[in-house]
Symmetry: C2
Subunit: 237 residues, 2 copies
Amino acid sequence: MTTRVEIFTDINCPFCYLGKARFEAALAEFEHRDEVEVVHRSFELDPALPADQTGPVIPRIAAKYGIGVDQAAANERAIAAQAAQLGLPYRSSGRDYGNSFDMHRLLHFALEKGRQDALLDALYAGNFAEPEPVFGDRERLVAIAVRAGLDENQVRAVLADPNAYAADVRRDERDAAQLGATGVPYFVFDNKYAVSGAQPTEVFTQALTTAWNDRTAPLITVDGDNAPACGPDGCPS
Amino acid sequence: MTTRVEIFTDINCPFCYLGKARFEAALAEFEHRDEVEVVHRSFELDPALPADQTGPVIPRIAAKYGIGVDQAAANERAIAAQAAQLGLPYRSSGRDYGNSFDMHRLLHFALEKGRQDALLDALYAGNFAEPEPVFGDRERLVAIAVRAGLDENQVRAVLADPNAYAADVRRDERDAAQLGATGVPYFVFDNKYAVSGAQPTEVFTQALTTAWNDRTAPLITVDGDNAPACGPDGCPS
């Protein structure tokens, strides 16, 4: 029986980028990795941000949290150093902030197309490792989605319709609140175990192992009546 | 948080066809239906059947289970009557039997493309409601898959490669055994509750309600250390 991991994430979240790599390092070494299913779910760090408001992240962070620009820049460099330890490219200055709602809508579309993980990697790379901004530029977003294997015309149709997959994003965000996620990344294993934050790889190994061992608990049968079914001995009706 | 329903099924199984309709009737009335995720999983009733062995099901059933052809035909008519009560088309004679492995491989391919449910409906309709046999005729299978919204060339590529998605089918069958499924349809709710057989709709309503109410149990946190995460108040590193 598969183990299911749901990862709540935002494109604006550098620790989501790092946490994904740490989780994947654990998964790559996990004996039952072929029976682990991963799905990415939406969490906006700043859902109230107007879609047309975008710009360099360092002065934004400094203003929002009342720290100096130097301190904000140092934080970015510290994250870049952590990324480097994981072999992840990270530009230590120059990334933008912006509203990620359209990206989350696209991630739900990509889930239907079997390209969600590829799109999330492409969005992270676009935001954290490449010089062109990913916010406020629809053509750039289309190019990233196409790079992740999605059909250009379908991507444009999703982006052009603000209602497309919007309910899926909102549902994820309600679920996140219900599951106790106050920040991201937030990992949920088989609706039972949670890992909060970009924990060390061994914590993900522990969570995978715990969830895996737990999945063999016997099922509870709902209703005991015999109902018609087919088995190796036929279909008694 | 979504509730996840896994339905083990075989194309050769008339009660899977009926059970799907009963489950869907319950789901359509379920208050939280938009937060229920359904996935179909593979179960072959006769995995040892050679792929080139196919033919009318009634004499096959009669021979296999040592009943008269008249009794086997009467069983089919009884199933057709149950199908009619659900508004499902069902030809009361003339369907074929055959090896369903290629169909299960295609259902896994369709899952990746977001068309699994549509393909299963099309396969059931092809086998139980339409006069042309679905076994032993690759062109017919391609036509059914295309009708379900899949790309013809990709479908042909999957069918031409006997290894494509074969491991997924085998994994489902191992999981079915582990979950205690000895026949189909077999419904598993959130890896915790099971419904066996084409139960009445109200049993599915009960299972959905039980699983839904259960999903709000608090998560167990794996590791208590604070790890870097981003929240509404920023990304302390």
